[in-house]
Symmetry: C2
């Protein structure tokens, strides 16, 4: 992984930067010993590692601003970090960077049921946002598989999705406002608890910006009333392409389940071994969940079963209890972990038009045979957000590189059929050079001008998102 050369001026001022950070923050909030900063040397894309210059763990927006001002003064790059669960290397350090971790900032600041929002510090984990309101019958919709660990800061940075985003949308559809600290240490209020506001709406461009524009310290999130009930149905098929066609037909018919998840046999087996969810041993499994009152659930499932029947499913089985439903979801959400127990893998994150599912699944199968690397598929099929897991052996020389090449082929295919490089994991370091396949130079230039407007010296989260060559040009010009 090509990373920029450390800035010699920053490296020469290492001790002073650390001393200044220590003065600005409470005791223990700055970590600089090599063995201690190693904890932060990678995120969940652990193939790439680099210990940072230092780690700052501020406890408030004011402290975040202080850290950024000091780094800005020294020209030191800053890598913002939530819980470090990025699968795309979104929080990968550079040797000259200060990691700015928001994990300590996890308080609920305001809960307003009348106007259906919650305001939290962004170090708070995704699941604990729902935790703060569920006793009152509300929930926060986006549900990444890592929701027990991942922070709202990272969810906003990556515009995270999750299984139930088919109905409820991804983070950007549930984010109402943020407090953003710029690299110069300026605190901006963007958006708020309303549908629209005057002027340029910067909220959309901040969401999913992968720490390129600023550090988000507070977020106002839409909360929703919990549905009366929900019920998943398992549908097994003999071929992945047929399951894909079934998904396409459900969406085509205008039925909107809350989730349509897809798993193929390798994933089904790994998850079943882990969670004992009663998954059938088939080539392809769909988990379709609907919600509402009992009547509504029965109505919707009847329509879905009628559509599925046309695709000759091997098995269709509705959940019979809340416990069974919980198990079914436990299995699905553990998929990445369960696969990790079996093999090393690279998790892709392309998004395609739902109607292209059968074709793309077929092509991935062909590529798998030609590369000689197995693929397990598990993904949010309803919105076309694929997660092929390419299995490889990290101890076999050349296997990682082969896997990366295969992955790039798949993502290019996603773009080719009218889709895009990422659905919810972000670009990070992983896909930065593939951005040239997604965007024309003029489109990328427009994005980079917005980056210029927020972070003219290109200090925030370096070497991510934009092609490494373009980033280098921009940093030199700055």
């Amino acid at each position: 992984m090509e990373m920029p050369e450390p800035n010699p001026h920053v490296m020469a001022n290492r001790d002073e930067i650390i001393a200044r950070l220590e003065t600005a923050l409470p005791d223990g909030a700055v970590i600089s010993a090599l063995e201690a900063v190693r904890v932060y040397e990678c995120d969940a894309l652990s193939a790439y590692r680099c210990p940072p210059l230092a780690v700052a763990l501020p406890g408030s927006t004011e402290e975040v601003a202080a850290v950024l001002k000091i780094c800005h003064e020294f020209g030191a790059p800053v890598v913002p970090r939530g819980s470090g669960t990025s699968l795309a290397g979104g929080a990968l350090p550079t040797a000259d960077c200060v990691i700015l971790g928001v994990a300590k900032m996890n308080r609920v600041l305001e809960t307003d049921y009348d106007n259906r929002f919650i305001r939290v510090e962004t170090g708070r984990t995704n699941l604990s946002v729902t935790g703060a309101v569920e006793a009152d019958g509300f929930f926060y919709a986006p549900d990444p598989s890592s929701q027990l660990a991942c922070a709202i800061a990272g969810n906003i940075a990556m515009n995270s999705g999750g299984a139930h985003c088919l109905k409820y949308g991804v983070t950007t559809n549930n984010l109402m406002g943020v407090k953003l600290v710029t690299m110069a240490g300026e605190v901006l209020e963007i958006g708020g608890p309303w549908l629209d506001a005057g002027g340029l709406d910067l909220l959309g461009v901040v969401c999913g910006s992968e720490g390129q524009l600023g550090v988000v310290t507070e977020a106002t999130l839409r909360i929703l009333a919990k549905p009366e009930g929900a019920r998943p149905i398992l549908m097994g098929f003999d071929e992945s392409e047929v399951a894909g066609a079934c998904v396409s037909d459900i969406i085509r018919a205008g039925v909107l389940p809350v989730a349509i998840e897809f798993m193929d046999r390798p994933c089904i087996r790994a998850c079943e071994a882990f969670a004992h969810a009663g998954y059938p041993d088939v080539e392809a499994l769909l988990i379709v969940e609907v919600e509402g009152s009992e009547d509504e659930i029965d109505d919707q499932l009847a329509k879905i079963k009628e559509i599925a029947a046309r695709h000759s499913p091997r098995e269709m089985r509705e959940s019979r209890s809340a416990e069974e439903s919980a198990l079914i979801w436990k299995g699905r959400k553990a998929a990445f972990g369960a696969m990790g127990q079996i093999a090393d893998y690279m998790c892709l994150d392309g998004t395609i038009p739902v109607s292209a599912l059968p074709k793309v699944l077929g092509r991935i199968g062909e590529m798998s045979r030609s590369y000689g690397l197995d693929v397990a598929n598990v993904f949010h099929a309803g919105d076309g957000n694929m997660h092929p897991l390419i299995l490889f052996d990290a101890n076999k020389p050349g296997d990682l590189e082969l896997c990366e090449e295969f992955g790039a082929e798949v993502l290019k295919l996603c773009v080719e059929v009218g889709g895009c490089l990422t659905g919810e994991h972000g670009v990070g370091v992983e896909k930065r050079d593939l951005m040239l396949h997604q965007y024309d130079p003029a489109d990328l230039e427009a994005q980079m001008r917005v980056k210029d407007a927020f972070d003219p010296h290109w200090l925030l989260n370096p070497a991510k998102v934009f092609p490494i060559r373009l980033t280098a040009q921009r940093r030199e010009a700055a």
Copy 2:
């Protein structure tokens, strides 16, 4: 209305600019005779008027780019225009500007039911987007009252809402991608038919940017399957504040009707005289609509009626037929027109937290008495998007100014209770100087830097959105 002085260089080159435009566009696509450009001297905020230098009506993205390049070369300001239905002066010309109207560009480019989107040229009217897909059981959700006339271009510029946006969201929630032409004539592709893409998501900042960043020539829009059925219920109350409290309670309970509309007595009477919708003659009327299957409709209405009963409504009446439902909506959508037959009015567009409705309605009543100007209220209550209509007499000297002062007071009140200046009409010229009440200088500066990134010479839609003094500084610095 203070507007910038015409640029003498542009005025001196008037004839050459027009000649160049005429060479670049087909016959008849450039209008420059004074009597003919007068047609474009105002939009629906007709209190302010100024004939433009010329009007260009391109027929394709390439022609739009050609117009922009010529104007860019001469430093001529450009005012993009959809159908000219802006209530905020969003398409008000300056004397030195070229009006760039997209009305000729109204084709459907692609319809994809499998992936639930439609791609259109942005001169197409809102209602005719639904018109293109309704025979196949689909619709486009945002429904401004002006939907018969207003163009998708303007909907995107203003992030338009409508009665049914409570459930379906406003334009930004239904917009998937755009083709945007910058002032320099560069064509950008932003977004596409997916939930998220890599890099900086410029779609959110383009939506609602009021023509400040570029001209949107094509749009990919989410289409939805038509619900099985829908049914409105009329609920009459003796006091506006009580109706407001009822709305707040419905939202608080987590019920999500597709629309909750509010009208007070002056509006009810005007609309009833126009549409004969059978509105009860009460102090405040709510139109609450739910949709789904018959069972779902009955279920939801039962909950809503139970909540409403606690507020002692004078009347509750469900629609008994599709014809009656259509009449009820005809009355509501005609509200602005119907009021216009009775008096001159200024239509405000503040948004407030739903829980603040009773308080704000009470305060507006007090202000009305103290200013001596009547107010009629009609608005999207479910999402707190208010539209107080301040009635005045355009022929009475000083009445317009008094009305503007009153309006500014109301919008400041909206900000004060935690809301914002505009919900769907945009800032335009009308509210530009109130932006300083909504945003801190640093927040506005961040927005203006993004404007710089797209339109460094500040030529696009001049004197709108940002406070006139700040705009002038920016243009001088450019």
